[in-house]
């Protein structure tokens, strides 16, 4: 297990290097000069020249990459050109926001997706199954931003139950914090619940037809015990992988939802940074997201082994 972990951790280095080159390279393909974009409407030539020099935009690409990586290795991810704040400060400020949103969305996704999947599999080809599948299809097809706007119009404008957008840190008011996050978390969780439901359903269907399940039933175990103790444990293996990947995707993929609900998290940070050509922020955030994604994958692999002892060999 330890050797496995070490091997995976060692793989982190080349992966992150590759990711860093990719982020840096892809960003250069973006049309639009950051100095012009950041010099403001006035586009004063002396300001443009100053910004180019200050942020090394006048240097060749490999030199700029070298300067950036050198900084990253020393824990300095550069500063936002737009608001002159260290990128790491921004990451530190935004990560907990997106983390909390992702966690809530994930809880909602699991709470809806897994039981619905089990139920659909157990009641295969019945109205329950069709209903759950249809709901999942709805969840998958509905665009996040549209659902978000509809929820805002219903729960904030019409009913006045929830704040329309924004974010209140839990330290300031836990109640307000949950009230502001419930809609975006549902919007985000809804799509993932659909994916989870479908995966749980197909995994369960496969497992429920397996010999050992028949044996368990033959032993006279209750259906509840067969499903929850014997079938679910095996069926969960692919669902856990999916869960970890989806959680990673939530960290980086809350872009639209954060935009609609104006949640100052990672997604909003990165979108604004792309539009403002704030290169250091884009690079820093993508690198952190990639790291989180890789680590979550690793966690999924570890969880695999814990759930299914046969994989330990």
């Amino acid at each position: 297990m330890i050797a496995f972990l070490l091997r995976r951790l060692a793989l982190l280095v080349p992966t992150l290097f590759f990711v860093s080159v990719l982020i840096f390279g892809l960003q250069q393909l973006l049309p639009g000069d950051p100095a012009t974009a950041l010099a403001g409407e006035e586009r004063d030539p002396t300001v443009i020249a100053f910004l180019r020099q200050k942020y090394h935009l006048d240097q060749p690409l490999p030199v700029r990459y070298g300067l950036w990586i050198k900084g990253v290795l020393q824990g300095d991810f550069g500063e936002s050109i737009r608001i002159r704040r260290p990128v790491l400060d921004l990451v530190e400020e935004k990560l907990p926001v997106t983390g909390e949103l992702a966690l809530l969305a994930f809880v909602i996704a699991v709470a809806i997706g897994v039981p619905a999947g089990i139920l659909a599999a157990v009641k295969n080809n019945t109205a329950v199954d069709y209903g759950a599948t249809m709901a999942a299809l709805w969840g998958l097809s509905i665009p996040n931003f549209w659902l978000g706007i509809l929820l805002i119009l219903l729960f904030s404008v019409q009913l006045g139950w929830l704040p329309a957008s924004g974010f209140v840190p839990p330290a300031e008011s836990l109640k307000q914090n949950l009230l502001t996050l419930i809609m975006p978390a549902f919007v985000l969780g809804n799509a993932i619940a659909a994916i989870m439901m479908r995966h749980t359903r197909s995994a369960m269907l496969q497992v429920l037809g397996a010999d050992y399940v028949r044996t368990a039933r033959a032993k006279g175990l209750t259906e509840r015990r067969v499903v929850l103790r014997h079938a679910l444990r095996n069926a969960l293996v692919p669902v856990v992988t999916l869960g970890a990947l989806e959680f990673g995707a939530l960290l980086s993929g809350a872009v639209l939802t954060e935009q609609v609900f104006t949640i100052p998290g990672f997604g909003k940070l990165i979108v604004d940074a792309v539009f403002n050509r704030d290169y250091a922020v884009v690079q820093g955030v993508v690198l952190c997201t990639a790291l989180a994604y890789i680590l979550l994958n690793l966690l999924a692999d570890v969880a695999y082994v814990l759930i299914n002892p046969r994989l330990r060999a």
């Binding site: 000069d33 012009t36 974009a37 002159r84 904030s156 404008v157 704040p163 957008s165 974010f167 050509r277």
Partner: protein, 504 residues
């Protein structure tokens, strides 16, 4: 004393103590973007100016009619040669950290604008060569040459005064700005909120009625409005034109609007690289035909519900510098076709670059349809804004549907887009006409408004025939607010001034 009396007494005491805290009033303003650096010298965004209006007073301000009115300077006059502006400063003004505001502070601020690396103000006041301190409350701005637009610059960020000690403290000033305005900076969470609180020693404190102001950037106009409707905000700027009717139909809300100093038009590549080599770029008759094919009134009705102001100049109708003798030409498709035939280009293909903003794209489609009737084959190239800017500067465009947010002085709306020596990053058409240049320079140095208008009229004669830009409309600043908010006055510069604002 009975137990009940004790409880009643405690309740009363609590009410007395808690009363003022409960009565704290906060004004929550929804902004369309997150501001950039909160340092008047370095700032560059329009939305940042809205925050500054609550935080940093200026030497002079403007009235809704665009007259200059006192703020930190109480009176001023030009010297006889127009190369000096003498300003008398308000007495007893303090910066938000307690530092006194005086002539030395003005000298420090003007010099900071001129010398701080990356200053976005330097170009605005570049005619200033120095600041003389006449006495504690009087300064003289010395100019290399007469420069009429200076006063307008001082009514904006170049006239905002920051506390010298705080600005020299070494830390990033924009993270903790200190000015001499009604509200002082408390906290900023990037992309989330900017919090200001009332400055107790503000010189005009009687005009201030809210204890705090919170600015919340909410880019989506639907969500911004939803926040206002649900009570999460008290005032929003840049209400979508299509939402005005909804606000008017809601008893809990009200709206305010004013024609802005901005314009929107079709900028045409005349001489910026090989892409200018096409009938539109080379033949003024084709440009005239394009203008004649467009019905500005219909465009305004279709795209902006008739709310915006159609225009054919860089200043909106009603502005003192609008040239009344040159009215908007009506749509004339027959004449447009004739002009195209004369230019031997009956069906010119024109690619218009359009920033990816839903309203602008819609306007481009209307123009496409209208110009199509005259024989134009308009192709719309939707391009993300920063990219479009880059392409325009490089000359990689034929026509560009773009605007300018507008300046108080007309010089700010025209000089950099039409003068031969204008920065190529702004005069992206590379238009150059010596007669226009002569008049633009004369308008800069003329002292009286009537003289300046006469020079701009001559600029208009040439420019509106050469058509480096076909001006189309002037947007309006649209605001929506809770019906309980009183004292809101819209200004042509779009800024939200907190003086006089109060809640019923």
């Amino acid at each position: 004393m009975t137990r009940r009396k004790v409880i009643a007494g405690l309740c009363l005491l609590f009410a007395l103590v808690a009363g003022p805290a409960l009565a704290e009033t906060t004004l929550r303003i929804g902004l369309a973007e997150d501001p950039d650096l909160l340092d008047p010298t370095l700032a560059r965004t329009y939305v940042g100016r809205i925050v500054f209006a609550s935080m940093c007073d200026k030497l002079v301000d403007i009235s809704p009619e665009l007259d200059f009115v006192p703020q930190l300077a109480t009176e001023w006059h030009w010297t006889d040669d127009n190369k000096g502006l003498v300003m008398k400063l308000r007495q007893g003004v303090k910066f938000q950290d307690g530092e006194p505001f005086d002539a030395a502070a003005v000298k420090f601020n003007i010099e900071r604008h001129l010398s701080l690396p990356g200053s976005n103000r330097k170009a605005e006041i570049s005619a200033v060569t120095g600041v003389e301190i006449i006495d504690d409350q009087t300064v003289k701005l010395v100019l290399s040459t007469p420069f009429a637009p200076l006063l307008a610059a001082l009514s904006d960020r170049a006239g905002m005064m920051v506390a010298p000690n705080a600005a020299q403290a070494g830390a990033e000033f924009s993270a903790h700005p200190v000015c001499a305005g009604p509200y002082k900076f408390v906290q900023r969470v990037a992309q989330d909120r900017i919090i200001l609180e009332r400055f107790a020693d503000y010189w005009n404190k009687d005009a201030i009625h809210f204890d705090r102001i919170e600015f919340l950037p909410i880019p989506d106009s639907t969500v911004r409005l939803a926040n206002l409707q649900s009570g999460g905000l008290d005032l929003i700027e840049r209400l979508a034109a299509t939402d005005v009717a909804a606000v008017e139909g809601d008893k809990k809300l009200k709206q305010a609007q004013i024609t802005s100093l901005a314009y929107q038009g079709i900028t045409i590549n005349l001489a910026n690289g090989p892409k200018a080599q096409n009938p539109l770029g080379q033949d003024p008759r084709v440009r005239q035909a394009l203008e004649l094919s467009i019905d500005r009134g219909a465009l305004n009705k279709v795209v902006f519900n008739g709310l915006f102001e159609p225009g054919n100049q860089w200043e909106p109708p009603g502005n003192p510098y609008h040239i009344k003798d040159i009215p908007i030409a009506g749509r004339d498709v027959a004449k447009a076709k004739q002009l195209l035939a004369d230019a031997k280009a009956p069906h010119p293909t024109v690619t218009i670059m359009v920033p990816t903003n839903p309203e602008t794209l819609q306007a481009a489609q209307v123009i496409q349809a209208m110009a199509g009737e005259a024989g134009f084959d308009i192709k719309i190239e939707a391009t993300e804004f920063a990219s479009s800017l880059d392409l325009a500067v490089k000359g990689d465009y034929q026509a560009y549907l773009v605007g300018w947010s507008g300046r108080t002085d007309p010089d700010g709306n025209i000089y950099n887009f039409a003068a031969c020596k204008a920065p190529p990053a702004l005069n992206v058409t590379h238009y150059c006409n010596q007669q226009v240049d002569q008049e633009l320079n004369a308008a800069r140095t003329a002292a009286s408004q009537s003289d300046r208008v006469a020079h701009y009229a001559k600029v208009a004669e040439h420019l509106l025939n050469d058509r480096p830009i076909i001006y189309l409309w002037h947007p309006k600043w649209l605001y929506a607010m809770t019906a309980k908010l009183n004292g809101f006055t819209p200004y042509p510069d779009g800024l939200i001034r907190p003086q006089g604002l109060n809640m019923q």
